[in-house]
């Protein structure tokens, strides 16, 4: 694998890994397709669950959603394994990438990856990467969010594979085992697009476009909070949740728009796809503006106008509502 493997950089780790794995094993699937087919675009705001004392906000489905759904949707068979024993985990990884020359996906903790820039080391256990070879005691790694390949010594990678806590990877390893011959993309895409549209327009108040409006309300209320340190952290926390590892500037929105454009090849209503794609791109752009306003608000806390900030989020939610109403009828 080492000599023939070509590294690519992606916007998001899980969709990047799944795209590379499937393509490598004989089924060319782009990152946008991997993301869209598994209906991974979402929005979730849950103030009762806290991360660093801040409310949980998510812009895409829960980690492993892509890995879990890609086999269901496409009929691909994916070998998945977790381990109790670290030695066994390393033996199997070595055997697969060295003896069998296979490309393999792993779930790891960001915090313990030795090549991660210091400022990016936070405890996030659901980072995905690829291993394509081994040289002495170093694994050759294709980390989808980096421009070039990287390496990690076995002992260090093991720590990252077995980090404890939320979403603990337990050495999770995965790779495609079989690819189906005929895939009915037209129907699969229709189902996936409809499913994603339904989840974004759910009546559940903390999810989808309703969730965006709820967060906007909470941001308005922050105007009356006198704890400047808290308000600064709150505003930048929102930005970090939006920009999390692997994406940038409402990046999942742009990724989904790219998916809708690609879906045009499969006999769906292209006018609807185009309109929705333009709207969701617009939303991604507004979310970027929203992030900028949050940062400016944090930098100039004495002149904070949280209502102004909230307005952008509400605007994005309205545009997405329009887009997903169209997609529900695809």
């Amino acid at each position: 694998m080492e000599n023939s493997f070509k590294h690519n950089q992606f916007a998001h780790c899980e969709s990047g890994v799944v795209s590379t794995l499937l393509t490598n094993y004989g089924l060319p699937i782009s990152e946008p397709m991997a993301f869209g087919i598994t209906h991974s675009l979402t929005f979730f705001y849950f103030p009762l669950i806290k991360l660093n004392n801040m409310p949980l906000i998510a812009y895409r489905e829960v980690p492993k959603n892509i890995i879990k759904n890609i086999d269901k949707r496409l009929g691909v068979k994916i070998y998945k394994k977790q381990y109790k024993n670290m030695v066994e985990a390393n033996n199997e990884l070595t055997r697969l990438v060295q003896d069998e020359n296979k490309l393999v996906g792993l779930q790891t903790s960001v915090y313990y990856l030795p090549y991660m820039p210091e400022d990016m080391r936070f405890h996030f256990n659901a980072h995905n990467l690829l291993v394509y070879g081994k040289e002495n005691d170093e694994y050759l790694i294709s980390d989808p969010v980096f421009e070039d390949v990287v390496r990690a010594k076995e002992n260090k990678l093991t720590i990252a594979r077995f980090a404890k806590g939320v979403f603990a990877p337990k050495g999770f390893l995965y790779y495609p085992q079989s690819i189906p011959k005929n895939i009915d993309y037209e129907n699969i895409l229709k189902k996936s697009i409809k499913k994603n549209a339904k989840s974004m327009t759910t009546p559940f108040p903390f999810a989808g476009v309703k969730g965006m409006k709820k967060l906007a309300n909470a941001i308005e209320k922050i105007q009356n909070n006198n704890d400047e340190r808290y308000v600064k952290n709150y505003l930048t926390h929102i930005v970090r949740m939006q920009e999390e590892i692997g994406t940038g500037g409402g990046g999942f929105r742009f990724l989904y728009s790219a998916f809708l454009q690609e879906a045009k090849q499969y006999n769906l209503d292209n006018n609807k796809l185009q309109t929705a794609s333009e709207l969701i791109t617009q939303s991604g752009d507004i979310l970027r503006e929203f992030a900028l306003k949050c940062v400016m608000g944090a930098k100039n806390i004495d002149r904070l106008n949280s209502q102004e900030i909230a307005k952008s989020l509400v605007e994005a939610s309205k545009i997405e509502e329009e887009a997903f109403k169209i997609l529900k009828t695809i």
Binding site: D119, F122, H123, V239, E243, T247, S277, R288, V295
Partner: protein, 133 residues
């Protein structure tokens, strides 16, 4: 399709790396672009600095006997209480007690070893805490 501006600002938190985003090109087709965002840089920096502030405040609290060294190492490792509790395998209410100086003094070596392992330090680093020096 309206064009999206691709930011090319410096982001020092990425150590010279750039991330990738999707955007429409002039033909309306989506492709990947490398970008650098100082919005992301600011947000990441603030999160890093907050942990540094928490560490400093904690050192003061250790000096005046309210906080325990466990709290210091928790912040040094960029953890919050739910994360630490999950990683060390204790309930959150228990961890909260261990963060207080008066309870820390009573902890046995077995418990201290669990925390030491999580933080990648020795029991002596906890027991003989020297203000992170």
């Amino acid at each position: 399709m309206k064009q999206i501006e691709i930011p090319q600002e410096e982001n020092k938190t990425l150590n010279g790396h750039q991330k990738v985003m999707y955007a429409p090109n002039t033909n309306g087709e989506f492709q990947t672009f490398n970008y650098g965002s100082n919005i992301e840089e600011y947000a990441t920096k603030l999160a890093v600095e907050e942990y540094e502030i928490l560490q400093k405040e904690c050192l003061e609290n250790i000096k005046n006997n309210t906080s325990s060294p466990i709290e210091f190492y928790m912040y040094k490792n960029r953890m919050d209480i739910p994360t630490l509790a999950s990683v060390v395998g204790f309930f959150q209410f228990r961890v909260k007690r261990h963060l207080k100086a008066k309870n820390f003094r009573k902890l046995n070596d077995k418990i201290l070893q669990k925390y030491s392992d999580v933080f990648g330090i020795t029991i002596d680093d906890l027991k003989g805490f020297n203000y992170g020096k």
